[in-house]
Assembly symmetry: C2
Homo-oligomer: 159 residues x 2
């Protein structure tokens, strides 16, 4: 066991082993998310939408109503400029509608359209299937531990 190269190390074909277990975990985390993103994209892309666009639409649906641009940015952990341009693209596809609010004319209220809603709903099942498939290798206990670990990493990075 000790002598066998780890899964990640084989994948990156690095000659020297990892200096420590933490470094290995970081590389594994970055690579895994890369692979997962591709996995999910392959489900969403055929519907004429990108994974990020799907993500925004799901946020808007989950919000239950309109959200200002910056609020969307906070939920996506993304700066405002990126959100503005995402919304530009979504509006061009008629999946989102933007209106300036009269109470505070600085804000732009963003809402998902019926067409957008229909699209997200059509993707619910296939995306959930893909989620399940990605985690099929983990037992319920492993899954719990996994989520806890991720929470801990997020907390540590934020600190």
């Amino acid at each position: 066991m000790k002598s066998r190269a780890s899964a990640v190390q084989q994948e990156i074909k690095q000659s020297r082993p990892f200096a420590n277990r933490e470094q290995e975990a970081i590389v594994a985390l970055l690579r895994t998310t890369d692979v997962l993103r591709r996995h999910l994209s392959s489900v969403v892309d055929p519907h004429g939408i990108t994974l990020q666009q799907y993500n925004v639409l799901r946020i808007l649906r989950g919000a239950g109503g309109a959200l200002p641009t910056m609020e969307i940015g906070e939920r996506m952990i993304e700066e405002a400029p990126g959100v503005t341009r995402m919304l530009d693209r979504l509006e061009k596809k008629n999946l989102v509608k933007r209106t300036r609010q009269s109470t505070d004319r600085r804000q732009v209220q963003c809402a998902i359209t019926k067409e957008g809603l229909r699209l997200v709903e059509a993707l619910d099942a296939p995306v959930n299937d893909a989620d399940l498939a990605a985690l099929a290798g983990l037992s319920p206990e492993q899954l719990d531990g996994f989520i806890r670990s991720l929470d801990a990493v997020r907390a540590a990075c934020a600190a």
Copy 2:
């Protein structure tokens, strides 16, 4: 416990709870990597280099010698065009040197320069510190389980 909203759910302020534990794990994974990437970028960026550029330099150092463009792409899990342009930028900064090989004139051999090597070495300690900090909240056993889980997810997505 059952009644309290999960960490991720609070963060995204979604009104409805996750349909299942797997969905929660997927969102947690995507968000965690996002946060981690920012965390690491903040260490690397001040040295005038991006996280991806650092990644390429580390691959080249780890290889011990020159690598053809496509080989770099495989280790980064990235398509060739992106790699070509990355190398363009790195070459402009004199951190990488490219030469066409005489044995197979289609290939472009890429090697890290002395300047590049010096830069990566200067980043070794701070990056390792950041890695350790990000995972400081996990016990050694948790860390092992975490890596195993990531390996399993990667395997499932590849399948």
